[in-house]
Subunit: 239 residues, 2 copies
């Protein structure tokens, strides 16, 4: 069933305008009486379209319930910013798999190194990719793409997670050896092309992060977050 | 360490010509005395460069051992052929994660439907993407990209696997509920855009495949094989 996100808490009816209204009326060719889901902060509102104009769609809320699609853990990805369109691929695929928030940061080996102002100009586009992936996969929230941080700021931010992980190709724990299920919030820190320098991993470890080793095969920087998210969702019974 | 694949079983020395020789000499700027790995069918040959000409590189084999990077299960992906460059993305990422063979096939909902002859023209390119991903990730083999099959032929081919799985968004077993470790060869069948029709899943199931449900979130057809490969490698202690 088509799925759209709304910003404010609705009462009995929901009226949408702008691109979502055009999408409902013109692209999807929906009409009065059709069923549609609106979603806000983890709640799904099951609605019936009651009125359509050139520029707006009004729907009656039939019932609401917590979104079934949200995982029971809050997983945040701390991703060293990669080259080209890889960050967009990472957003799209980790949002489908259940990530809650993505925090990009600059590490020593990042090739693409936008400053905060340059990155801020791209944020709207990145946030839109997150929204599209959330709609398509049936998520109950739109995962937040955070402003870009330094490594030190990202490590500080990750202190908000009860379990902190950093992927390191030169060795660490296996994911399966950790008791993930007892944690409600997990942060995973992943390098850009070329991975992390040892001193960077040591900084994260001294702040409480567990180094994770994904085995002998070296994953590309855009494959690693997708694989990690899938495996963590599986190990926490969310997939 | 740089890594190249060879076709025939070597004795004491390995001589390469063509693009690999140019890559070693010009792109990597290697020289006599440098260390290099050649790889053939799961065996790594650790070598020292002994002679370089304009068009060839000769290396002495110092020792050989089974490649550490090969998983202990043989995982074959049966992938309904997707649109655009998604098949290339799937090859690249599942090869990094440890797939052994990829078999594309045409199902009812495939949008891109090349016939066998048209597909055969692209096979060399797909095989090259597999080789590049195998080199980059440190694999011990170059996973085979098979010619394109019909659904029925793919189901027949999958009978060679001891465990046969088909991903179905409308329900099935959870991956974690299966005892994967007792199987040496696993086949996973995954749909294209729009997934499988019920009758297609029933055909696979009547041939012994287990339907697998990956949870409430709907994955894109190019995300699903990457997630499945990562989770299976984790559950079989290969990641």
């Amino acid at each position: 069933m088509p799925r759209f996100f709304i910003d404010s808490e609705p009462t009995d009816f929901i009226t949408v305008t702008g691109s979502d209204a055009r999408h409902i009326g013109y692209s999807l060719r929906m009409k009065n009486g059709d069923s549609i889901i609106f979603c806000r902060m983890g709640t799904d509102y099951f609605c019936t379209i009651t009125e359509m104009t050139e520029s707006s769609v009004t729907c009656r809320i039939d019932r609401s319930e917590p979104s079934k699609c949200e995982p029971n853990i809050s997983l945040t990805l701390y991703q060293a910013f990669p080259k080209q369109d890889k960050f967009e691929q990472i957003i799209q695929k980790t949002v489908e798999l259940g990530i809650v928030r993505i925090v990009p940061f600059i590490s020593n080996r990042c090739v693409s190194r936008p400053n905060k102002a340059d990155f801020a100009k791209k944020l709207e586009r990145f946030q839109r990719i997150s929204e599209e992936a959330a709609k398509q996969s049936g998520r109950g929230i739109i995962p937040e793409i955070a402003p870009i941080l330094s490594l030190e700021e990202a490590i500080e931010d990750m202190n908000g997670c009860s379990l902190k992980l950093i992927c390191y190709e030169n060795g660490g724990e296996k994911l399966s050896s950790l008791n993930l299920e007892k944690h409600k919030s997990i942060g995973i820190m992943i390098g850009s092309e070329g991975g992390f320098e040892r001193s960077e991993v040591e900084k994260a470890v001294s702040s409480g992060a567990v180094p994770i080793w994904l085995g002998e095969r070296i994953l590309r920087c855009e494959t690693c977050p997708v694989a990690m998210t899938a495996v963590i969702m599986n190990l926490t019974d969310n997939m």
